[in-house]
């Protein structure tokens, strides 16, 4: 898959915002500094992914998972990242669980409805769209991104 060089960069606006929020108020960031940090971030992703991949291979797995990423942080001497990452992981898992339960509830409600009265046509369309979106999200959860 051909990637244009800019695809491997992260958006300037987001990078700038993260930096500004981390530094004390009133501190300026030169354009060069920002660009350098952006490049460093891309390199970090590559390094972390490669490192995580080693852990997956050690575990005889082909798919990188969350624990591989955490092990990579340890290996790269970024232990300080592990706590915030674990918190983020828990929050993410709670969110996914919530979505799943919500979609299951919607399905139950829809089944109840079709069992009883005649459904409103326009209401049906909305439900279909929601289901599509939820199905996509479920797929994303399980999706393994292949190279």
């Amino acid at each position: 898959m051909a990637e244009r060089p800019e695809d491997l960069n992260l958006p300037n606006a987001v990078i700038t915002r993260i930096i500004k929020e981390a530094l004390p108020d009133g501190v300026n960031i030169s354009k060069e500094a920002r660009s350098a940090i952006s490049r460093a971030a891309s390199v970090f992703v590559l390094y972390a992914t490669s490192c995580a991949n080693n852990f997956a291979m050690k575990g005889k797995r082909k798919t990188l998972n969350a624990s591989d990423v955490l092990s990579a942080m340890e290996e790269m001497e970024f232990q300080r990242f592990i706590t915030p990452l674990k918190e983020a992981l828990e929050a993410y898992r709670r969110e996914q669980k919530g979505k799943k339960e919500a979609s299951e509830q919607k399905k139950k409600d829809k089944d109840k409805k079709t069992d009883s009265e005649e459904p409103d046509k326009s209401r049906d369309e909305d439900n279909d769209e929601d289901e599509e979106r939820l199905e996509e999200e479920e797929q994303n959860e399980e999706e393994e991104v292949d190279n």
Partner: protein, 131 residues
């Protein structure tokens, strides 16, 4: 350390990180030997990158030049890459800058050295080993 960044995006969903997952995914996929990764690995990598940016910025600001100042500069970053073990992996991409005049002088001196060597070997006889 920084709290989990949680925001609400357009769909009313919680955002765990501000970096776009699609872009992080592209970079991860470009890594050789990686065959696949699950969604959790993607989300964690994105989050780790955000934390990394914060850390690199604050570290470089604090230790980059040794003085109190009002700005974060490229030199702060390249100093960090060179001097800190943790950020050593960045040394090749955050190269130290050198004044153009200094660099040109270096090249000139190097060329002069090489010319001297060539002159020496010309003067000696053919039984000299080729360098």
């Amino acid at each position: 350390m920084v709290d989990v960044v949680v925001g609400i995006d357009k769909c009313g969903e919680q955002r765990l990180t501000s970096l776009p997952l699609s872009r992080i995914r592209v970079i991860m996929k470009s890594s050789p030997k990686v065959s696949s990764f699950n969604q959790e690995a993607l989300v964690l990598t994105a989050k780790a990158t955000e934390v990394f940016v914060q850390y690199l910025a604050t570290y470089s600001y604090r230790y980059g030049s040794g003085k109190e100042k009002k700005a974060l500069t490229y030199n702060d970053l390249s100093n960090t890459a060179e001097e800190s073990g943790t950020f050593q992996f960045l040394a090749d991409i955050l190269l130290k800058k050198i004044l153009a005049s200094k660099y040109l002088k270096m090249i000139k001196e190097k060329r002069e050295d090489e010319e001297e060597e060539n002159d020496d070997s010309d003067e000696s006889d053919d039984n000299n080993a080729e360098s």
